[in-house]
Structure formats: C-alpha cells, structure tokens
Assembly symmetry: C2
Homo-oligomer: 713 residues x 2
C-alpha cells in the first residue's frame, strides 16, 4: 500500500512539475495577470474592490504589456514558488508599501511581512505591499498573502562567475564594515520567492510612465479613497484614561482658544476592558455615552473610538464570535475570522448598532499588524501557525487582517451612506479605496517623512503623528510635517495636555506648562489654520486620486522619473498636482532642497528657484517648507475652526507666474457617498492674465466654495 | 485531463492526511525517535557521526522515555509541519545552540536560523541548534535543517479564554512598554513549527537529570570532541595583511618575552585573492610558504590558515567544483555542494596536498553562517532559494554548511591520524564530536560569557575572543574570560600589535604603545601562564566530554537543576568537574556571585564561601574569578611556553578541604587519534589525608605527567 501511494504521489509530482508555462491574461485595460501553477486561496485580490474599469479604459497605452510576460521564469521548490524577472541596468525600483527606512529598493532584499516594527531594513512594515514600480514605467504586484521575499538585484548567479578571471579582491580588508559592504553593482535579476505556495499570480501594470503604472494599480484596486472634508482637518487624540468630563474640557479648550480641530479620538480607556477589548463603554469613565457623544457633536467634533479587533471574554461580541475565530488568543481575546463574511457581519452589525448609529464617526483600528518580530518575549500577537475556521492560516491572516478589518467597518459606513476616515495600523495590497490612514509607534522624523513619500507608491495613506517632542523647533517642524501629510494627527494618548503647552512627558502629566506655552500655541494655531486653508486643494487632490488614481502625496520620482537627481530623494514630495513639500527634520532651520525642472516659488516669501538643482535653504520656524510650481493657481480657503455639512469655503486664488494653467476644485456632499451617483461638480479656476474665471461642471446642487479673490505673486 | 489530475492530487492529499499517528522507535539506550509523516531529506542526522552506543549503554535509566511520546500532537499545514508538546508549570528550558542574548528559554519564541548576527533575541545564531533540555530532565531535538520555530510557552489558545470571565485589563496603560509587556505567565504548550516539511522527526533524550539528557545528546552525536593539548594553550591571530617576515617577527616577540603561545593564525591576506578565496598563497606576502611553515614550526607554533569555502574563479578548486556547487555565487565565488561526498573529497584532497601535508595544523572556517539578516543591502551570502546539485536547497544548506565544512576538513585530519582544533563560524546539531570552536563579530562581554554557558547545552565549543578593548581593566577581564573558556583566542586581524601593548585601534596601528604596555604585558603573561597550568585539568575534562558526554564548560543549571536560584544565572558556569568561573564583565571590580550548595574556595585567596547564597565579591585585576569546590584535588601544571609532542606536565596537586575525592587525569598522545585504539591512560590522583597516591590505568606507554607536589589549602 505504501509503495503504491508513493507511486501515485510521484506521478502527481511529475505531472505538476511539467506544468511549467504561465498563462497570461489581460484583466483590465493596461493590466495583465500572469498565472503559474496553482496559487493558494486567500489572495489579496480575493477581498479587493471592483476595479475602476472606465477610468482605466480612458488611459492611453493599454494595448500591450510593458515587457514580454512570457520571459518571467517560474519554478516550484520545496520551499514554495519562485519567479525571476530581469531588469535593465538603469532601472530604479520603489514601493513595497509603507517602508520606513528604505526608499529606492534596487539592491535590497525585501521581505513583505506585516509587523509593528521594522527589524533592520528587511521590508517588514505595518503595511507591506508585494508591489513595486520601476522608473522604466511598469508595476508588478505578487498576489499573495504569504511573506514573499523580493531579491531586488541583490543576488549574483554562480554562472556569472564562470568566465570571471579578474575582479577578485586582492586588497585586504581592515574592518568588518569593509568586509561586508554591499555589492559593487546590483544584478539584473529580480527574484521573488513566495513560501509555501505551489503557484504564483503576478499582476503587471503598464505605464508607460511610473506615475501611470501607479495610477493603474490604484484604479485596478478600485480608485483612490474619498475622505470626508472634515478628515482633512485636524485630529486630536486625548489621554487614554480621560473620562467624559476631561475630554469635553479639552474639546472646549480648542474652541475657546480658536485652535482648529475637527476630530477627537478616544484611546483605550473608554472600553470597560481593554487589551483585549470589551467594546463596551466603561461606566466609571463614561456613565452616559449618548450624552457625551451629543455634547462632542454639538461642539462640532467628529468622535473616533480606539479599539482593536481582539475580543475579551466579557464582551457581547465574544459568544457570537467564539466559533468564528482563530485557535489562538491575543491578550486572552478572540481573533475574529474576518475572512468569513458572517464574522464581519457580526462585528460590523454590533458596531453599527452600538456606535455608528449613535453618532460615532470613525474608529482607530489598532494592533492589527503583529508583535515586534525582534522581541521573542513580547509575543502578543497570534502565531503564523494559527488556524481559522475559514481555512486561512495565521501568516495569511496577518497579511490581510488590516485590510479585512477596514472592510468590516467600512462596509457599515458605506451602507449607511456615511463617509469616514479610519486610523489603522496595518494595510496591504489593493487598499487604495479604503479611507484609512496608517500610523506607527516608530517616531523618527526622517522616517515619518520618508513614509509619506513611500506610501504613495502603493495606494496607502500615512499620518506622521505628533506626540511629545524635544524642543520648540522639533514640535513646530513635526507639526509642519503633519500639516503637509494626508492626515494631521496629534496623538496625546499618554499626555494630559496638548504637546504645545508642554512637550516634556513628565511635566505635561503634572500640568506644568512651558513658559512660552501661549506663544507656541499661537504658532501651532497658525499652522493648523494653514492646514484648514489647504482643505479645498487637498480635497480635490483626493478626488483626483479617486477618479484618476494619482496619489495626493507622492515622491518626486513619480512625477520626474527621468531626473536621476530625485532617485534618492525621500524627504521631499509632491502634494496634489502643484505643491512640493520639503520638511525640515529634527528641528533644523536649514536644509538642502532639490527643485525638479521648472520654476518654483517659496510659499512663504514667493522667492523663485530655478529647477534642476539643489539649494541650501534656511527657514525660520514661522515658515513652512512648501513650494509652488510656476503656472499654478492655488486655491486657499479662509480657515474655519472645523468643517460642518454647511461649510462654504471662501477661496482666494493665488497665481504663481504670468500664465497659469486652470485648476480644478472638486465639490460634493463630503459627508456621503453620493458622488458615486454622479452628485458632484468640478469647478475650473482659470486666469486669462487679467481676470479670473470660475466654471462649474456637474450635477451637484449645493455650493461648497465661494471664490472671493485672486492674488498675483 | 486537468480535473483528472486534481482528483488524483485530492486522493493523495486525503491519504496523506490520514497518516496522523507517529511511530516511536528506541534508537539507542535512552534515546527515542518519534517520526510523523515523511520528513524531508537532508536532515542533520544524515551527516552525523556514529553514536557512542557503548557509553550510552553504560548510563542508567535507559528503559523508558521521559514522557509518553504518543502524547506529542502533530499536524501538517500549508506552511509545513507542527508538533505540540506540553510542559509542567515548573519546567525551565535551555539550549537552542549558541544563543547570545537569551538563556532560560521558556516564554520565548525561538527561530532556529543560522545567521552572523542575532536579530533581536529571536534565536538566530552562528550555531542555532533545534535542541533544548528541560530542568525536568529530558532533551528534545527536532531533526530538521529547516528554519524551525519553537514557541516555548509563548502562545495561549483561544479555547483557554472561553471560560475566562475576569483577569481582563481594566487599567489603562500609559506607555508602550506597558502595553506590550510579555505574558504574565507562559503557557504549558511547546509548539514547534517546521516550514516546508510534510513530516517531522523528533529525538527525545532521557535524563533523568538535565545533565544526563545532555550527556545522552552528546554521546548519541558520537561523544564530545578530543582536542589536542596544544589546542588548550594560547591562540593568537595576527594582522590580516601581515607578510611572512612580520608574522615571524611577531612569533619571535612571544618567545623572546616568554609569553605562552601555541597557535598562530593567518588571516585573509595569505590568499592571492580573498573574498572569495583562491586557496593559493599570495606570492607578494608569502613568496616561500614551505619555508615560512618550517620557520613557524621550528619556533613551536601550530599554524592555522583563515579561509572561507567560497571559491574564486582563479582558484585551482574552481574548475573541479564548478558543476558541484550552488547556482548562486558568494563574493563571486562558488558555494561547494558539501552534501556531495565528491565535492567534499575535492575540497579536502586539495587541502591535504597543499596545506596539511606541508605542516598546516588547523584552519579557521569563516563566513559559513549567513549575511546579517537585518541588513537588506549587505547580502553577501547565498539565498535560501539556492539550489545545489545534490538536491539540497539554500535554507537547508545554510543550516548544515558549517557542520559539512567541518566534516570536509576533519575527514582529512582524521585519515592522517592528526588531531586539530578548528575555528568555525557556524555549526548545528550533532556537532559534539567536532573539534572546532565558534567565534563571532559580536563583542559584548556579557554575551560572550553567556555563550560559554549556552554552548554547553548543545554540544558546542565557543571562544570569547579578545580584540581591542577600552581600558586596562576591560582587557584584563576579557582575557580572564578567555582563559576560562574552551579556547583562549586573541584575534588581532586588524591590529599590528598585541592589544596589551595598545588597545586603541588607531594608535595600535601607528605603533604607539601604552605607557604601561610592559606592565600590562606582564599581567597578560601571568594570565596566559595560568591557562597553561590548567591544560591537564581541561584536557581531562575534554576526555570526559568524549567518553561520557559531559560538557567541559556548562551552565550551573546543568549541575544544579533543582536549585531555582541558578535558573537565570548565565554569567557563571562550571569548568570541568570542580571549578566554577564567574567572570567580571566590562572591567568591573565587583560583582554578585552565587554559590550552589556546598563550600567553595576562592582560587586566588582560598577564602571559603558557604553555598546556597550570593555574595558581593570584589577582585583586583590580578585575581581571577575562579572558585574550587570543596573536596577537590586540582592538578595544576608548571606552565610551558607551548606544548610539544614530548611535553611532560609537572603537576602540583592542590587539595581543597580535609577530605578530597580522587581526580582523574587523561593521558594519551594528544597529537593523534590513537585514543580510538585504546592507547590512553586514566591517572587517578588520590589523597588519604596525609599522602598522595598516583595510579595509572591503561595501555599508553608514554608519560605525559609528572606529579611533583601536593599542597593543602
């Protein structure tokens, strides 16, 4: 019997080994799918939104793949499945999701593994995405929820050495640094290994430019997310153990001091049990939640509740979910099997009934990544070997958990025709349509800025949140980076008072304020007002993200892929179509800034810079590192304290240069999803050299903007 | 056709899933093998030495397994194979090879992955071994060359939460440290996951004590290694770019200044090309290697050559190995497929003819681990997805490469009946019989000492090498730790002069000596002479390792598994049967030292300490942190400058306490393997209270010792 079985197994193996050729299928305009063998279930695409096919069809260059897809070499091994692509010498690679400490990825090994910390620079991330784009103008996504590894030109084959008779190192190294230095030259191989799988599915996105490849990836994902206008305002998260009265007091402080704030977030203390969660208000801190919600709402705050998805035994969600969860606990809580639509429904229904219907506008979805890999003792997360009733295992669930968690709650908001903006600590592939911004406990300022640049390659949003800081300058510069990001977020979950009143942790919690607290408060107010002024511009950039797939925040290389000077620039980025940000890091007052081709205006002084080179630029703390491309009409709003359903933004159009291109403003009901039913307008702002012209196109009947002035610079 | 194939595959799968029960087999006295499914080829045991069955049979408690082996639960998953064992609450776990920054392993996740750096504390190591021992008195080895992960009680099952209605955290954390703190209590599950495999083989070693479980593991591996007596002397590795004249000059320095030194090591510069290696002398530095070897030999030095196994194209080994190597290059060099006996033969024959027959006595086998995992740019090593002609893949090869490399060269020494002591940067399971000492670029003093303790759990030897240091005290204390280790090694590969003349790197290489260089030299000389005095004791401890499997260096918990006070003590350890070392770290002059039960003597002052408690102990730099158990007869030799084939050690027996147990000295030709033909003696040293007695048992005809005095303390 045994040898008979072995024979059959051998027969199966020999057959499967003979299935070596891939199938190539055009799945959307400019998007191809290459399939080899039999990829596993639980692919990222199994949970994605429908592609924005119409928008894809409108793009040019849809006819043929960016390279010959039959040249991709695949094989299965005892470890999994391997694909090999080749690269040209000149190509640079970007992407792989929310990478914190690398930017240009060629020459690096990247392991796409969700994790709460980065573990060197190997690719671990809150939101690692098995997707990269090339400066040659194409994108590649490996459709797997396994921990895939990309060897981006790091490996040389033995066969390359056969005819090598020189180039050996006859100099003797004198330090370990010298010994283990990186390759002199990266190889031309992109080798991708997917563990455990016996097949692979690769999506290839046509360019012909880098930006278009990204656009196609985002549109194939379903288009970029539409955030509510209030989501582009200011978010403040108060101390974790604050009760209702303290939260209200803090909320009043903002209003009384005319400091803009749209969103207020509660941290873990609101749960009767947290770590894991009860999803029930704690009576001692919030005896009357409905009243509290109403009170915050009456002050114009959008209330956001912290949670994670792990369900403590005393939670009302525990019994309904106990046979729809993984076999390992996290902080004694169940891990819901969000692959199962029924588990998503139970979790979502509870949130709808208990929170969303009561006026909660958003959630912070914490801890949906994984425990710090490096720390073998602090293993709070579920193991990769976990099993879930749906059949997904722990590794796959780790990779998809953030996205599935987002889907679970967004589904409820969507069916209620309510827009939201979530905070979320993990995401993955095809996430562009989800209005959710990533955040992290990592707190290096340069990394925070680099993540703004990197997030844009992979359909992600990122909040470089502001916590306590180490100096006035550090506070201001970090706040500026927040102002110049997708979501401006102060996270004071362990601070009694806002950081601008005292940025020292201990003193803050003893209510000892800085001597210059009021002065700092005023500087912060100015910055937050600037953010409020940018809302129409940013809101329209998000609409462009939705309809065209162009990321509102993106690295310079996306717009200037032919300019090799930008290949390593990870601390400057484009904001919308016409603005370039160049944050000053760690409280610095000087930095080198590179300007791509064209002429650029300093937003503060209107000083002009000729592009194609770098300048050493000094800025005082009251200046924001923002630059405007010549030919721009920049619509700036009169700042409001917070956005309401009836807010009409008063717009001043700033004109940079003698001739300006028209600018488009997007107008709709930013509280609902009615834009999906064509209830929106595009407002064209034009300048003929002497007069401004405002032209509205669309079916939406309510005015969101009022253009009041045009100013030449 | 396709659906037919799927049917057959489904049939195969259903059959393989039904094979769930394990087979249990007694493979040696006190050693059981549990097999589940079909483990892969290329298991560590495929390359192991024959077990020391006679020695195993002599041990007691061989009848039944330490626990019911049928209770081990196995399953296969899409990721690989999982085993689950249970533990008692009181059990503590140790082992997993050369762990640098963890000691007691329960409560930790351990990933057994060979690597040149540790990556947090997750288990990566130069010599990770999928083996642990429990204080309950058993050992478990997972016989895999995959990167197995051991969840040592880190995970709680969801089922444990079902009836949990309290214990939730209603306190609100106020720091991230607080949030992610380790489990309050480790679970009772040991869960082992082996990736890619569809079966698992587990060896279980009976105790009944922790020490006996380790002994059985070592004896089943083939018994502990026998090192030559000269290998227990002093090793010095000179600067990497030194030529013959400079090496000879340094060698003379030792002799002229009466500083003991047995072994001199050449670093990479001797190769005509290094990184990767030519295995050919560089004519510009070593125009006449034979003459150089003779010159060093005439001064009594054993010459050791640095190399790694990666073969540069200009090497004479390249053509013979090019179709017997992996498909990826390392530093442009071939990676020989050492699984293939023919590849081992080619590599070994070349070394025999070119080096060993010419008088080279040992090699340093560098870089056989893997590139630093954390650094995605410095990927010098071969990837896990590599393929080798024998069928082994890169992951498995990484795990076994160090052991196979050792085997390749030891085979040549063995067939020439020559003993050696290799340096090696990687090892794995079943390595006890290999005379090879591990080393590392990591340089934390506490970790270096912890690795002495940890190496003893898994049949490994470890050299806490001395490089440059930061102060007189640091130099002395590190040298003391070297004296109290398996191999005393100064690695000056980037220093022109010995570190005791100048420990500042820059100044050393400018020949600027410390003002007190001669004084430090004298202190070092004293320490090295102490090491030479300990050779007979250590040599006999190694013989005990060989014949009984008791590690010569081992953590206190091995000898005192019932004393919970030692469970966390990783900076004290036993040396041979009767000595305890307690190194002073980082130049300290005070430390707390715990004494297990009994009475202990300070080696320097003979002060007595009552065991069962800890003392704060102060030691000046001329005192060595070494303690002698009451009842010991400690044989100390008159120090020689270096060991020769005719060395006769003059022994003084030091008596500690009124009544002393007999001590055994091992005597043989320490240059050859004649002990395997019973050519050895055991010399019993006994003291009846008034007189000493020396009794020799055995067939070896040459005297290696002369007992000259007995001293009471």
């Amino acid at each position: 019997m045994k040898s008979y079985l072995l024979l059959i197994v051998a027969f199966c193996l020999s057959l499967s080994l003979s299935l070596t050729a891939q199938t190539i299928e055009k799945v959307a305009p400019g998007v191809w799918k290459v399939t080899y063998g039999t990829p596993e279930k639980f692919k990222p695409s199994d949970f994605k939104e429908d592609p924005a096919l119409d928008a894809l069809a409108k793009m040019s260059g849809n006819e043929k793949p960016p390279f010959d897809l039959s040249t991709i070499k695949f094989k299965t091994t005892s470890r999994g499945c391997v694909a090999e692509l080749t690269m040209e010498d000149s190509e640079k690679l970007y992407g792989f999701g929310l990478q914190n400490n690398t930017f240009q990825q060629r020459g690096l090994r990247k392991e796409i593994r969700v994790n709460s910390w980065s573990t060197g620079n190997v690719g671990f991330s809150h939101a690692p995405v098995p997707f990269y784009v090339s400066t040659k103008g194409y994108g590649v996504l490996v459709n797997t929820s396994r921990y895939a590894t990309f060897y981006c030109g790091t490996m040389h084959k033995a066969s390359e050495s056969i005819n090598l008779k020189e180039g050996g190192n006859s100099n003797v190294a004198s330090s370990t640094l010298d010994l283990y230095k990186p390759l002199e030259k990266s190889s031309d191989n992109m080798i991708i290994e997917v563990p455990s799988e016996k097949g692979m599915e690769i999506f290839v996105f046509e360019g012909p430019t880098t930006k278009e490849a990204i656009q196609r990836y985002n549109l194939y994902s379903g288009g970029g997310c539409m955030v509510p206008a209030w989501g582009l305002g200011v978010k403040y998260r108060g101390k974790g153990d604050y009760n209702d009265a303290k939260a209200v007091k803090l909320a009043k402080y903002f209003r009384e001091n005319k400091i803009p704030c749209d969103m207020y977030g509660l941290e873990p203390g609101w749960h009767s049990v947290a770590y894991s969660c009860s999803f029930v208000w704690k009576p001692s801190l919030f005896p009357n939640p409905d009243q509290f919600i109403d009170r915050m709402d009456s002050m114009g705050y959008k209330l956001n509740l912290w949670e994670h998805a792990y369900v403590f035994p005393t939670s009302p969600l525990f019994d309904p979910l106990k046979d729809k969860s993984g076999n390992f606990a996290v902080w004694k809580g169940l891990v819901p099997d969000f692959v199962d639509p029924k588990a998503r429904e139970i979790f979502g229904d509870y949130h709808e009934k208990t929170f969303i219907n009561k006026g909660i506008t958003a959630f912070k979805l914490d801890e949906c990544d994984a425990a710090d890999y490096k720390d073998a003792a602090a293993q709070w997360s579920f193991p990769e070997l976990s099993q879930f009733p749906s059949g997904i295992d722990g590794e796959q669930m780790h990779q998809l958990f953030g996205v599935l968690y987002q889907k679970t709650l967004l589904n409820v908001f969507n069916r209620n025709n309510k827009r939201t903006l979530l905070d979320v600590r993990s995401s993955q592939a095809f996430a562009a349509p989800y209005p959710a911004s990533l955040y992290s406990d990592m707190y290096d300022h340069h990394e925070f800025v680099r993540m703004i640049s990197n997030a844009g390659f992979s359909g992600l949003l990122w909040s470089p949140e502001i916590r306590e800081t180490k100096s006035d300058a550090d506070l201001i510069r970090r706040t500026q980076s927040g102002v110049l990001s997708a979501q401006l977020l102060f996270n004071s979950w362990y601070l009694s008072n806002p950081p601008w009143l005292q940025y020292d942790y201990e003193k803050n919690n003893r209510d000892e304020f800085l001597p210059n607290a009021k002065e700092l408060e005023s500087q912060i107010r100015n910055l937050l007002e600037l953010r409020m002024s940018l809302i129409p511009y940013l809101y329209s950039a998000f609409a462009t993200y939705h309809f065209k797939g162009i990321p509102p925040f993106r690295a310079l290389v996306v717009d200037y892929p032919q300019d090799s000077a930008v290949y390593k620039i990870d601390d400057q980025y484009m904001m919308g179509e016409n603005l370039m940000a160049a944050p000053f890091l760690d409280g610095a007052s000087k930095r080198s800034i590179y300007f791509p081709s064209g002429v650029w205006y300093d937003f503060n002084t209107n000083q002009k810079y000729e592009g194609g080179k770098a300048y050493n630029i000094e800025m005082s703390l009251d200046q924001i590192p923002l630059f405007v491309k010549e030919g721009t009409i920049l619509p700036m709003a009169k700042p409001v304290q917070y956005v309401t359903p009836t807010t009409v933004f008063e717009i001043t159009c700033h004109l940079y240069g003698k001739t300006c291109k028209p600018t488009l403003l997007f107008e709709d009901n930013s509280y609902t999803l009615d834009y999906q039913k064509n209830q929106f307008n595009w407002i064209s702002l034009e300048w003929n050299g002497e007069n401004g012209k405002v032209t509205k196109t669309g079916k939406y009947k309510v005015n969101g903007y009022k253009v009041t002035a045009w100013i030449k610079h």
